[in-house]
Amino acid sequence: MHELSIVMSIVDIATKQTQQANALEVEEIELVIGELSGVEMSSFDFAWTQGIRDSVLKNARREIIRPEGKAKCIDCDAEFTIHQFFDPCPYCNSHFVSILQGKEMRVKSLVVK
């Protein structure tokens, strides 16, 4: 369950930011977790409830933005949506594609108080 490590990293980031702002807790947190990031959302939700206990995030409202996978074909230059790393280029069937979007995992913003 690497999702728990991810949640703990988010808790660390949030704790640091809250302290730096001389605040007490996080009211709202906005995350960006791409569809190709390798994060299983049901595991993530489970890890979240466990991980935020007794942390600055325990009362936080959580917003998750999920960018879809986008790739560019190295053979024909087409850009398209992908859902898996093994999806081929829909135009020329090539597997030589480079991922443009969907692998990101970011803490976008926080509202602390």
């Binding site: 369950m1 660390d12 980031i13 930011q17 007794d54 093994f86 030589f96 970011r106 913003s109 509202v111």
Partner: protein, 244 residues
């Protein structure tokens, strides 16, 4: 906060937050845009610098439990010990069995006990390096926890990621665990001595793997019969030469 390296990956900060003046009720919006794994990635970069400075070629070995990571290491270390310098970091959830097997080959080995953790991270590797001081101009093998999912996301600072799959597993593993095959540069297909007895279609497996990662390079080996190991050994020897 970890005192040795200054990284903030210790989660036990239990002080109640009475920092100076309180801003109760006052809200502040922080537009952070920070990578969740930034801390790990920075430490991985630090490990990478350590390897570079000492001309160490480091290999992160990943697979399902039982695919033959330790066997491949035992064989390699025994066969090449007069030609190359090696060190090994063993990531194991509980036991020291694998580390003992490596130790028996006469190679410097250190063990990271991950406990319930299902993967190694750059922080653990950093401390293992500080403890063991692997020799310069060597190959460092890092045997990750047997798991094809969790280790995929965590850069350890390795120079190469090697995924091991054995012919007793399904040939569709690459598309079932695409992240791992996507992030690896080398795929070792092990236990080919068992091919006559199992329904594993090796070409199909490679085809699947190449769909996930068209740049993947394959070695087909048997740690039991020794078949295919020569190619793997040549590849290893080139790594320390070309990296010099």
């Amino acid at each position: 906060m970890c005192v040795t390296c200054g990284c903030g990956t210790d989660h036990q900060h239990d002080h109640d937050h009475s920092h100076g003046h309180s801003h109760a009720g006052e809200k502040k919006v922080i537009d952070l845009e920070q990578d969740i794994l930034l801390e790990n990635n920075l430490l991985a970069q630090r490990n990478r610098g350590y390897f570079e400075g000492r001309n160490i070629f480091s290999i992160n070995m990943v697979s399902s439990p039982g695919s033959g990571k330790t066997s491949l290491l035992e064989k390699t270390l025994t066969d090449l010990k007069n030609e190359l310098k090696f060190a090994v970091i063993e990531g194991d959830q509980q036991t020291t069995n694998d580390a003992d097997r490596i130790h028996a080959t006469g190679t410097k080995v250190t063990q990271i006990n991950t406990g319930k953790g299902c993967h190694l991270d750059a922080h653990m590797v950093l401390h293992a390096l500080q403890g063991m001081k692997p020799p310069a101009d060597s190959i460092l093998f890092i045997e990750n926890v047997g798991n094809l999912v969790c280790p995929a996301m965590f850069d350890l600072g390795e120079n190469e990621r090697v995924v091991v799959i054995s012919v007793t597993e399904g040939e569709d593993k690459p598309i079932k665990y695409p992240d791992m095959f996507h992030t690896s540069g080398i795929c070792v297909i092990n236990k080919i001595d068992l091919l006559p007895y199992v329904p594993f279609d090796i070409e199909k497996c490679k085809e699947y793997a190449l769909k996930v990662n068209p740049n993947l390079k394959f070695f087909e080996v048997s740690c039991t019969s020794g078949e295919g190991l020569t190619e793997w050994y040549s590849w290893l020897k080139e790594r320390v030469l070309t990296e010099a």
